[in-house]
Amino acid sequence: MERMHMPLIDLFGHRARRSCYLILAVLLARLAFPQNAPTSDTLWNSHIEPLLKEHCAECHNPAKSKSGLDLSSFQSILRGGERGAAVIPGRPNESNLYKFLSSDSDPHMPPAKRAPLGEEEAGLIKKWIQDLPEANAAGIASNHSSTNSSGKVTIPRLGWKPRRNMPASSAVDHFLELAWKLDKIKPARRADDGAFVRRAYLDIIGRIPTAKQAGSFVKDRAKDKRTRLIDALLASDEYATHMREIFDPVLMSRRGPEWEDKRANQRWFAFLDDAFRRNRPWNEVIRELIVARPVRPEDRGALWYLYERQNSAQAVAEALAPVIFGVQVKCAQCHDHMVAREIKQAHYWGMVAAFNRSKNVETTNGPGVAESAVGGFASFANLKKESQPALLTFFNGRKVDEAWPAAGEKETDSAERYIVPPPKGKEKPQQPAVPKFSRREAFAEAVTRDNPLLARAMVNRIWAMLFGRGIVHPVDLMDSKHPPSQPELLDWLAHDFEGSGYDVKRLLRALCNTKAYQLAPGCGKPASPGSFAGAIDKPLSGEQLFRSLLVATGNQPDAEGKIAGQDEKQARRAFVAQFPDLFPIEYNATLYQAMFLANSSWLEQVLAPRAGNLSERLLTVREESDRVREAFANVFGREPDPEELQECAGYLAGHSPEAGVKHLLWAMLSSAEFQLNH
């Protein structure tokens, strides 16, 4: 059936498209629900779940559960609440869920302050309860697609798969185009060269192009110039630095200058730089972090991932989950995740167990993370205080079998359990202890090989980096409650990334070469941001802003590494402190950011004319309108329009040359056009 749809679309002319979609929709519906007559199952999916979500979920959700009742899933409805059963299959008139809808019922639901359900809606609920088979209701629950725990099983909407060998960028575009057609969305036009070159520089190497770089790109007549630019940027050293500046906070979170210095000294930054420069497979990079026993000297920094967390296995587990599974697990420390039910408390403690035999040690070669061959058989208690063993069970369904000592049995820690045994005395060992059975290695194996979630998480993050928002948004909540906006695209991309050997540059190259990435900003009301039918404004990170500012104003570190009298590192840190966010859920400029731009004395110094910088050059330009044009070329990478030209030239005319130039540049650098990647 899948293959049948496409020719239909191609055969019909433009005018017939609408009816074609109807046919398509029907076909798809039948594909999803093979039975002919609508069952309680289909009714649940199509009407009941959305209806309960709209009218009841505010109070009867997993977290709130008013009167003990949670109406968010079929299973929870069957559990009932403090008033007993909510539904009795086949008997709507005896089921509270239906009875309480009646206006003369006490209690009456939804409560008075909310709109009551319409007759038709109540009728649907009645019919649904009526049709529920009485026997084995629990068994039916498991067949409801909404109870799929992984959130990965998706009803095919587009019903299309790229043929083998189709270029990845074309495949991505085709997925999106199909979705736009289905949703009747008209994508934005193609971004012009000036917009594209700025975007590509910012996204791939973390700064804007110089006026010269932008100018020569725009003038270039070659047809494949965008592809060539993408390749050139990916090959540059700035690419590795930019990726490190994104992935350091992603992996480690920002902890301020003191920790930044430690990470530099412990060669954590060097490890990341090298990983991105050499384009190491992403699963291999993650494996290095988990195992933390680097072999090559240039990988030494990898062990800092565990070491910085100072023996807190929980901190390691919480930091790793978004990277290897795409989810946040903090909530599951004390109980199964209340909203995303597939995230179990056992998954949290399983990850903790993977690291609870590890310990920071000092060796003669510097810091290391030793691992014991014994111990670490912990238990955790749920909210009902029931205790369970923390087995090596992980969110992706993988398990590591391990024999547990019998109750009362005391394990013996002996040298033959080790490849590198722990030191006997107090002297520093040459290497940290390495057991024959290493939980870290077992865990690394389980999550960096045949773990589709690792690929999904990375693909979604890189997508968000380039498109301003994840296919699942927010990026690290890839659970059942945050469905992807383009499920088939995400599935395919993740699969493709895995198939490529977790090739990060290839992924970036493919995405940057898509038509979708190269769209102009979506104008007017965005249909839905998850449609990606137009470029989304991305706020610049502190690092991007800092570097772009230097490029725009033509300021570079002097012989002593100072910019406008301040150490480059300090100046960059000041920006990062004000603009720390990466992948914001929703962007909002803050008061403090605005005050920083308005009143930073360093920024004032940067704008003052000095050897070779833009302000100095502008002062040598005679005409005010030419000064404005030159400023626009350097800061915005474009020509001013007549209105802007008039306003800005007028401003220059009203001020002394030096003050005018400084203030004009300040206004441009603080404006949205500069502060955003668009």
Binding site: E58, V339, G524, M595, F596, A598, E604, A667
Partner: protein
């Protein structure tokens, strides 16, 4: 103290129209049916309306005596008892009521104060107790209940006010557990916009000062040019991000115009002398000044000086007279300015101190029976509630906990204490849990 704001123009933000409570507006205007006729901007320029709103604006000053003050030397003296300490007690303006001997000035205005002598709480470690007594309920991770200041900023303030809705005057970065608490999340589930703006001592509002390199006119004109460019970008692309930037810069203008309010040097020397030296006293004066200019909530703290595990008497000989002077001046000033009925003043810490003296001649933590003081908005004048036994070991009359206290504060300020927080994916939380009763005896 260094003056970070000296090169700013004079206050442009004393205007009442900046400090109006938006909800008050809506209530008032919907009543008259005029809302549809007058533009929002127009509303602010109606002088009569602004005047009324000013009259209704309520404030709260929390004198946060962090480290936990001793009840014996303050509100619940036990003269002549082994636990009483050397400072004795003095009669107050209220017949039969004595305060600690180091509080003569407070004794003279006892008819304006309300004292609770029967606080009984359950946390005896600073961090947990600070958390409990500033948020009003025990923690329930991972949810973070907003601190009192954030709730009041949310309820009494309005987001586009140029003057911050929650001001924390705290010069001291240290203070062990208090330091840790300060680094945490004050605003909790209300969101960061209701968190404190921290000022005082080394803490100035960063970048609020215009640099010396630019004149006020140029600062303004270049911002107008920035706004023009951003507005154009916003209009061309319907960019929400751009509009949020323009909004942020608007707030900068407001806050910069308020900066002189934070300048102690601008306050009359006479006032500064009356309150006395030291950051705590000067900040209390500043709190009065901020409230006069519309700030809804000001918290005055000073590290953790009250934590007297060692040399208790020696330390309290310095601290209590300062507190006496500060409370006396603050209450009298608010009264003479006609602000006391609209301003709730609270002086409290996170628990009390032990009846017994330890080996280091200090008093340790004691949440079992302790005292606090309230006065002003919604509070009965000249009342003492609850009692402890003769040695101050146990509460023998009307025990109250943090929930009772918070119910009292909210009720006094006309805020529904039992309102439910209606936020997505949040379990059912109330402003005060378990319908805890307010301390009726102190409510006006």
């Amino acid at each position: 103290m260094r003056d970070p704001f000296s090169n700013l123009p004079d206050p442009a933000c004393g205007g009442v129209d900046h400090t109006l409570h938006r909800r008050k507006f809506l209530q008032g205007m919907v009543g008259t049916g005029a809302l549809s006729l007058i533009s929002w901007g127009g509303l602010f320029s109606l002088p009569a309306f602004a005047e009324q709103a000013k009259r209704e604006q309520k404030h709260c000053i929390l004198l946060w005596l962090c480290g936990a003050p001793s009840q014996f030397e303050t509100w619940d003296p036990k003269p002549g008892r082994p636990t009483g300490g050397p400072f004795g007690s003095i009669p107050t303006k209220l017949p039969g009521i004595h305060f600690g001997g180091l509080l003569p000035k407070c004794a003279s205005i006892a008819d304006k104060l309300a004292v609770v002598r029967s606080m009984k709480t359950s946390q005896n470690e600073h961090l947990q107790a600070i958390d409990l007594l500033t948020r009003g309920a025990p923690p329930r991770p991972p949810f973070i209940r907003p601190a009192l200041g954030s709730v009041l900023a949310h309820q009494l303030g309005h987001l586009d006010s140029p003057i911050p809705n929650f001001i924390l005057l705290d010069p001291c970065p240290e203070g062990n557990e208090f330091k840790e608490f300060k680094a945490g999340n004050w605003a909790g589930w209300l969101g960061a916009q209701y968190g404190p703006v921290r000022v005082g001592g080394e803490y100035k509002i960063e970048n609020v000062q215009r640099t010396a390199d630019i004149s006020a006119e140029d600062h303004q004109s270049r911002n107008a040019l920035r706004r023009f460019l951003t507005k154009k970008f916003e209009n061309d692309r319907h960019s929400a991000a751009a509009s949020s930037q323009n909004a942020a810069f608007e707030r900068v203008k407001g806050l910069m115009s308020c900066a002189p309010l934070f300048d102690l040097e601008k306050l009359p020397a006479k006032d500064r002398e009356r309150y006395g030296p030291g950051a705590f006293a000067q900040h209390a004066l500043q709190a009065r000044h901020l409230v006069e200019n519309g700030a809804p909530f000001v918290m005055v703290a000073n590290g953790m000086p009250w934590d007297s595990h060692v040399f208790h008497n020696e330390i309290y000989q310095l601290l209590v007279p300062e507190l006496d002077r500060v409370i006396f001046n603050l209450i009298t000033d608010l009264e003479t300015r006609g602000l006391l009925d609209r301003t709730l003043v609270i002086a409290m810490g996170e628990f009390g101190r032990t009846p017994w003296i330890n080996h280091a001649r200090g008093r340790d933590h004691y949440p079992n029976a302790w005292s606090l003081m309230m006065a002003g908005c919604g509070i009965k004048r000249g009342v003492v509630v609850g009692a402890t036994d003769e040695d101050g070991m146990e509460v023998v009359e009307k025990p109250f906990n943090e929930k009772n206290l918070f119910a009292t504060i909210f009720t006094a300020l006309g805020i529904d204490p039992y309102a439910e927080y209606d936020l997505p994916e949040l379990p059912t939380f109330y402003r005060v849990e378990e319908k805890a009763e307010p301390i009726r005896e102190v409510l006006a």
